[in-house]
Symmetry: D2
Subunit: 342 residues, 4 copies
């Protein structure tokens, strides 16, 4: 079976394994106070071209989102998300369980647009003293690339960030798939731009070559005070933190992280081209590693003998929308084989 | 510097690394639905001599405790712990943050005794309808080995469990250091006995040879319904769950887990003997891998040039209580060198 | 200024005041254990024709909703509500703050319909093991009358309840305005029917003649166990509980509660007739004490010199939707005066 | 039966009832935006000799405590309380349910002392980076009068407040029985002093003549921002807020609040004198309306035919500690009768 249902069916990049072996006999400081973690943080700070930010390594994305969001909000504050946002649809109510409502806005190909946010905030404040019956919006959550594989442009991020600053909102970017976004063909963003146009973001490792681990970058000084308590509070402070450091230091050595993403994007692009040529309908125009395509049940049944996909929804009576994901270790032969069978 | 301050300064056991390398190219199911996790679960079930229980692998101890405790309690229920319990002193209020009060009882060498629990429950229920002003005690939390390195006997566990059943309380055992406990000289417990004398417990991997990971064993059928949602809710459902499975399947192959613990216990026992012979005062009679000893500031300063210890408290004006920990990879020559310098 | 913006601008019904005076010198039991509370509970049980249910008096509606909802849900469970539901729009995220996500469905004139619920539950369970990434739906929340003044029929409630039982969901009815609903012209519900077709509901006092107070009726035996802890936990257990009992015992003496509602409904119906006759557009066909009407800004400015309304939204460039509410103490002359000025 | 078990068995002060009757026909603004609430707030501000503070009226004490404490704390912060503090012993874990740990210190006749607080904070910060494993102490909670009826002096409050400022902690005073404290014989505090020596406090109405209601005074500007959302979030924003305003405006007219307290204190002092004269042992030296006395089971049985007391604990095999409370409406003849029977 060839797994194309998600970008985390594969193992870990060999460079990481090698480094684990090479450093295994060392004794180090714990809870993230070790030299490997220091190196990885330095690499990320350099890529952000900003030494004045804090970086925390956390085992998974949902935990990272809960930590980032709850750390920034007072009990009565809410986070704004696209209705399709990961925190709203696939985290088992984790953000709400931390006490905070998610206010949803309609997504535009998985993305938020500034005018919707402005309208929501205006509607809140226009109520005067009655606004206290509503939860107070205080943060905007976006993901890049989105749950649909789409990406934000410099202009879009800049406009969102300006609106957030104008309206006194934090901007937080879920980068579970940030590598894929930054390596997409039409992308004009980089880490430096992102780190100067939001209050917090994270760089996903799990979905791009790591065993586990996300790097949360906290930029806004207001949010950086005593931030690390939040990790411990959420059970996210791993004792053997060095292993997170090792993974990220390898991923950010010689641009490995972006090279892996490029490989996956390349394969998905190749696949999409083939799909379109063969008359398949793509439901979204994704430039990254996720492809959403309409497929008849018959074809799906046939392909499912060899390939695993993610079923998203029923398209019509006889067709489904499926998600095809490529990852750091997807072999080109897999995609060629799939194309052949389309 | 030789790190003897804790049992998680070392790397990961080579068997695990080897297995990681050997299986790295596999594609597998995700979120714990993979064959390695299945194997590890089977091994644990066999050791428990009970196939009818659920096992979840979680990245760290605090997260495991919060999941186990909050999953079992209604909003108005509390967990009983020794005042020295890890959940009460070293988890940044994580249990309370999940909404539940910790009711503390005085520890007896780190342990709880049945009569204290009985008295607390009696005091609650004697109030009749007024008891609703108090939080309702519903679970007992103990750790084995304890934060002081002490262990429970069969008789003690049996009495605690009987009291819990009599009083309609869940018994939960934090086994962050369970391997050390079950491998101690005077221990008469084993996994089978534990799995039949509590409602939930966990087996710690992080402190005994793993990179990360704890195995939560849920026994009581009442607690097993829909349990897995709790993992996702707390951000604990790792996408690449196979790596947890691989670690535990290696640890429980050929009793490796217990062999590693025995090694650490042996070194600590050797050290304690040497300390006592040289007139040092041990503040607690631990049979496992943690040693608590009174040391003059001068001696501590001298030794600290080569060895890292954990300072626990000021003993008197000139002396401190320090904790010395051995682990799976502590070299005997380290302990010999330390003994020499005492 | 004549206040028609809401149904809680007025004082308390004189019968209640008289009873307060008459009983003021009594000393009574506290926290709801007093004879007045017992009498009020008996009256409600009689009206429900069911002695086997529990009743709790709580000071306000948001608190009641949070208590009812959080008491019924495990940490990972969610409540389903119309997007216009009070818990979703006007409670400052209180339900989420108690840890539970609100899953919204589109409203149909403020109401939920069974097929939408069925589709949501089906979509959850069709995911198999992957459903744990979603929060688990476990309760349905409706309000009667709704936030739009509309009411449910016997048939509608019955169908909703059957769906809930089939799908293993609790049905909870927010009755902040239950009196108005049960006294509406085309209503075919009564307390007995409601008490046998849901798991919990509350009868609103604040919006219908009381100073403060809602009566939460807990029917499902599964939910009744230890329920009262939830009140104390949420700070809702008033020390001088007798005053809640006195209010409800007066409201349910000689059908006063329903007579007051009929009066308010009558005035609103009269007003709506006049509005329609004069060509005003009603945005919703409410049979109860709330009227939603489109009004030009000019007209609104003119009327606002004498009358207070609630502005709901901008209808078009020059018109707004306003809410006009009548209450237990609204004088017919007020409505006549308003009609005259329309 | 004469109820001396608590200070909330009695009705409401007649002045309040009269005012309710006189103002019942008024229509007013809602949710606390009414002229009566404005008047009451002004009276309290005048008594505090500070116009620059915010006042919120809330229905009960537990709710007030949760609002005050949770509003001031970040998710990872804790409140320090005496082990006997109301929040720690009689609020069903409400503070923990809001997500915050209560760190307890030993009580000194129900009170906290600065040196204990200093030692706790020092112990936290001495850990350096390891302090993140502990919850962060951020607020000190005291009650005045305490749960034992004891009171703080100016000097004691001043020292506590100075320590709090020095250590960057908020000081919050639970004044459920503040009237009794400020009216005690040796008291040297007044509202002005309190309002300038803490960050928040509340003035209890329920236990001193009101039907329901506590006045939360928020002083620290840092805590005042957007504070009112917290009320709504906790279900504490009563729709008919005017009734809270009416009660407090009556209580603070012509010092009624303090006169009522003096009456209760006088009766308790008279009782204590009689108890001591007859050889009864008082377990605490309370100057306010609560008396704690050792009584044989036989005597208690005899008196319980006519008087209701609160049993606190078993003193020895044959004796109990009971609490006797006087209130605003306790008749002197009741106390005389009790004294006679001692």
């Amino acid at each position: 079976m060839i797994y194309l249902n998600c970008d985390y069916s594969d193992g870990v990049h060999p460079n990481i394994l090698e480094k684990l072996i090479k450093t295994n006999d060392y004794q180090t400081g714990v809870y993230g106070f070790d030299s490997f973690s220091e190196i990885a943080k330095k690499q990320i700070k350099d890529l952000c071209n900003n030494q004045d930010l804090d970086i925390y390594f956390i085992s998974g994305g949902t935990q990272t989102n809960v930590i980032a969001i709850s750390a920034a909000l007072m009990h009565y504050q809410a986070v704004i998300s696209a209705d399709t946002g990961h925190i709203n649809t696939h985290e088992c109510g984790a953000v709400e369980n931390s006490g905070h409502k998610i206010l949803t806005l309609p997504n535009h190909d998985g993305k938020l647009i500034p005018s919707d946010i402005k309208a929501m905030i205006k509607a809140h404040h226009i109520q005067g003293m009655s606004k206290i019956h509503d939860v107070q919006p205080k943060m905007v959550y976006i993901s890049n690339s989105t749950e649909f594989g789409t990406i934000y442009s410099k202009k879009e991020i800049e406009e969102l960030y300006n609106v957030c600053k104008e309206l006194n909102l934090f901007l937080y970017i879920d980068g579970a798939r940030l590598g894929y976004a930054l390596s997409a063909e039409n992308n004009d963003l980089d880490l430096e731009f992102i780190a100067s146009h939001c209050d917090m973001f994270y760089i996903g490792g799990t979905k791009l070559g790591a065993m586990y681990g996300e790097a949360l970058v906290v930029i806004n000084p207001e949010l950086r005070v005593d931030f690390q308590y939040n990790l411990k509070l959420r059970g996210a402070l791993l004792a053997k933190g060095r292993f997170l450091g090792i993974q990220f230091s390898e991923l950010f050595k010689d641009d490995l992280y972006f090279k892996l993403a490029k490989h996956a994007n390349y394969l998905s692009t190749k696949l999409r081209k083939a799909l379109v040529e063969r008359g398949y309908k793509l439901t979204i125009n994704s430039p990254t590693n996720l492809t959403f395509v309409v497929m008849s049940q018959d074809k799906l049944d046939e392909l499912s003998k060899e390939f695993a996909f993610e079923t998203m929804s029923q398209y019509d009576e006889n067709q489904k929308v499926i998600r095809i994901a490529t990852g750091w270790n997807t072999k080109e032969e897999y995609i060629d084989k799939l194309i052949e069978k389309l």
